[in-house]
């Protein structure tokens, strides 16, 4: 059986695909390249266990057929906060209806699903650290900046409604992931802060290197106990030099990830940024 990664040509998706292939899995990548890029998969492009499909995740019928030979789906396809703010209706279509179409196809074929959600669903919470069962405090719809969080919540609700009907679905709330190939602007802001020491206030309080995010995704894909669960995935310790950081939604309570998935992040910011620089140069060479 194969593993499907939607959005597999994107930032986190491409790292996940590399990892799955290294484990010897057969991987299918579905990406419409609206925000992803096949160049992100250059290092594995000719791998015999990899199938690349340039297609739209909203095509429910196509997905239904595709999932016949798939045991596990990592649903990562979606637009980020910036694009969602700029084109709300496009983002609703991809992030909400795209997820509904994946879930529908997974229901028909009884596939395990891991959905990549994000910390933005907590909004601007009043208490820290953030536990998975915390309330979401979101701004009014007259501010488009809140559209992204509303879409992610709706997608989570769609996943959970399938979980209630017996589908093994796990939702990971990823807290500010950085690393090579990140085009959200976070990684470049981090590197800029490291070199000129300015702008720390707007950086997130919790930062997760992409290989740690990939580890959590892989663990969630094999964890029976995590079915129907929402799990925070992020860095929960103080980061030296970043005491004045005030961006992001806050710091995750990570006990559930430790308990259910046996997951704890391993790469600290120093090492993560060093790896980002090295890998960035490596990618540029190829």
């Amino acid at each position: 059986m194969r593993v499907l990664v939607t959005g597999g040509a994107g930032f986190i998706g491409s790292h996940l695909v590399e990892d799955l292939l290294a484990q010897g899995q057969k991987v299918v990548v579905l990406d419409d390249l609206s925000t992803g890029d096949w160049a992100n998969l250059a290092s594995v492009a000719n791998h015999r266990n990899l199938t690349l499909l340039t297609w739209d995740v909203r095509d429910a019928q196509f997905l239904e057929n595709l999932l016949r030979n798939v045991a596990l789906v990592y649903h990562l396809a979606g637009w980020g906060p910036k694009q969602a703010r700029e084109d709300v209706s496009g983002a609703v279509s991809v992030n909400v209806m795209g997820t509904a179409s994946v879930m529908q196809a997974a229901m028909v074929n009884s596939c395990r699903v891991v959905y990549a959600s994000c910390s933005e669903v907590y909004g601007r919470p009043s208490q820290q650290p953030l536990r998975e069962d915390a309330d979401s405090q979101l701004g009014s719809p007259s501010e488009p900046v809140w559209a992204f969080a509303a879409m992610k919540l709706m997608a989570e609700l769609a996943c959970l409604s399938c979980a209630e009907r017996g589908l093994p679905v796990t939702i990971l709330r990823l807290f500010d992931v950085y690393g090579p190939r990140d085009r959200s602007g976070l990684t470049s802001a981090l590197l800029a802060w490291k070199s000129d020491g300015v702008g720390v206030e707007s950086l997130p309080r919790s930062l997760l290197y992409v290989s740690d995010a990939v580890d959590a995704l892989v663990l969630a894909g094999h964890c029976e106990l995590a079915a129907g669960e929402i799990v925070n995935v992020g860095w929960n310790r103080p980061i030296p030099g970043m005491e004045r950081a005030a961006g992001g939604v806050g710091v995750p309570d990570t006990r559930k990830a430790e308990r259910l998935l046996g997951f704890a992040p391993r790469v600290d910011l120093e090492e993560g940024l060093a790896l980002t620089r090295i890998k960035g140069r490596w990618d540029a060479l190829k």
Partner: protein, 336 residues
């Protein structure tokens, strides 16, 4: 005179809006797939030459395209409604409330038609602020409770509407309805007033969920449709969000007593814990009061019909039509 298209026009609010617009001399077309709307709600309008209806889904783009091309303004009311309905069917909520709305806006934009989007006080979630102003934060419980899927789906609808206004200049108005009552409302989807009145008329125990101190404000649907139309006709209201509802607060216990006195019923009041009425861990709001200063400032709207009169109208309707339901009043649908 204009030609209005009402989606969800066979529903409770939709049918009153159709009636009101016809009385104002407008031409009215409705589309309704009768999933929650009922033919009986509009049957009395069928001989009016200015009234047209299509029994179809708003996701049928061919039908919507024709209806959109033939109207001047779209009142988008079609939605999966009511708390009980939503708790039990979140996937249906996405299909009806988000995909349906997206398709309405695509058509509206194609023909550049103004859209009045009806939204809900559920938008504010479980926030304990009193009263709710339009720009207030939304506070939702954890997503493990499908309780919040109605609120979330309508928020996504609002983001869509405002994006069409900001990004493409499509004229839109968002109207957040608070508790609305009146003839033809059914108790089938957890609505409290028709349930209480139905129980009172049958001299059966009136079932109050929780301890009965939670309160709501009930506006008469005839006041509400007048407000919706007023906002639709107001050019300054475009791109804006409005609360529309009553500010007279009443606790569920007092409401039960008032229903008993208005109907002259012999019913007693029985309290049922939330856990028995809804799924375990159900979160209800203690109070839900709209700040209606904005709609007052824009169009001078205020509710006029007192609660007692609305309750009398509801009771009369249920006596005459059995709640307008072909199978008679269905008070037994909510857990008892």
């Amino acid at each position: 005179m204009s030609r209005a298209l009402i989606t969800g026009g066979a529903g409770f609010v939709g049918s009153h809006l159709a009636e009101y617009l016809l009385s104002q001399g407008h031409e009215v077309a409705i589309i309704d797939d009768l999933s929650t709307g009922r033919l009986e709600n509009i049957w009395h309008l069928r001989d009016n030459p200015r009234f047209h209806f299509a029994i179809d889904s708003i996701s049928n783009e061919i039908v919507m395209d024709r209806l959109g091309s033939e109207c001047d303004i779209i009142y988008h009311l079609a939605a999966a409604v009511g708390v009980e309905m939503i708790v039990h069917s979140p996937v249906h909520t996405i299909e009806t409330n988000i995909m349906g709305t997206a398709s309405v806006f695509r058509v509206a934009n194609r023909y550049r038609r103004k859209v009045i989007l009806t939204s809900t006080s559920e938008i504010y979630g479980k926030s304990d602020k009193v009263p709710f102003a339009e720009d207030d934060d939304r506070v939702l419980g954890p997503t493990t409770r499908s309780r919040w899927s109605y609120s979330t789906s309508k928020a996504v609808d609002e983001f869509l509407a405002l994006a069409y206004w900001k990004e493409r200049g499509l004229p839109i108005v968002i109207v957040r309805l608070f508790n609305t009552i009146g003839p033809r409302q059914t108790g089938r989807y957890g609505m409290v007033v028709p349930r209480f009145v139905g129980q009172a008329l049958a001299n059966k125990p009136i079932t109050v969920y929780g301890d009965g101190t939670q309160s709501r404000c009930f506006a008469d649907v005839r006041d509400v449709v007048r407000g919706i139309h007023g906002l639709a006709e107001c050019a300054e209201a475009e791109g804006q969000v409005f609360n529309l509802g009553s500010t007279r607060e009443i606790s569920m216990s007092d409401l039960a007593r008032l229903v008993i006195s208005v109907t002259g019923s012999a019913s007693e009041i029985v309290y049922v814990p939330y856990d028995q009425a809804y799924e375990t861990g159900f979160e209800d709001m203690r109070r839900r009061v709209p700040d209606i200063s904005k709609v007052k400032r824009f169009i001078g709207w205020e509710p006029q019909i007192p609660l007692e009169e609305s309750l009398r109208a509801v009771a009369e309707d249920i006596r005459a039509h059995g709640g307008n339901s072909p199978s008679g009043l269905r008070t037994g649908d909510g857990p008892a």
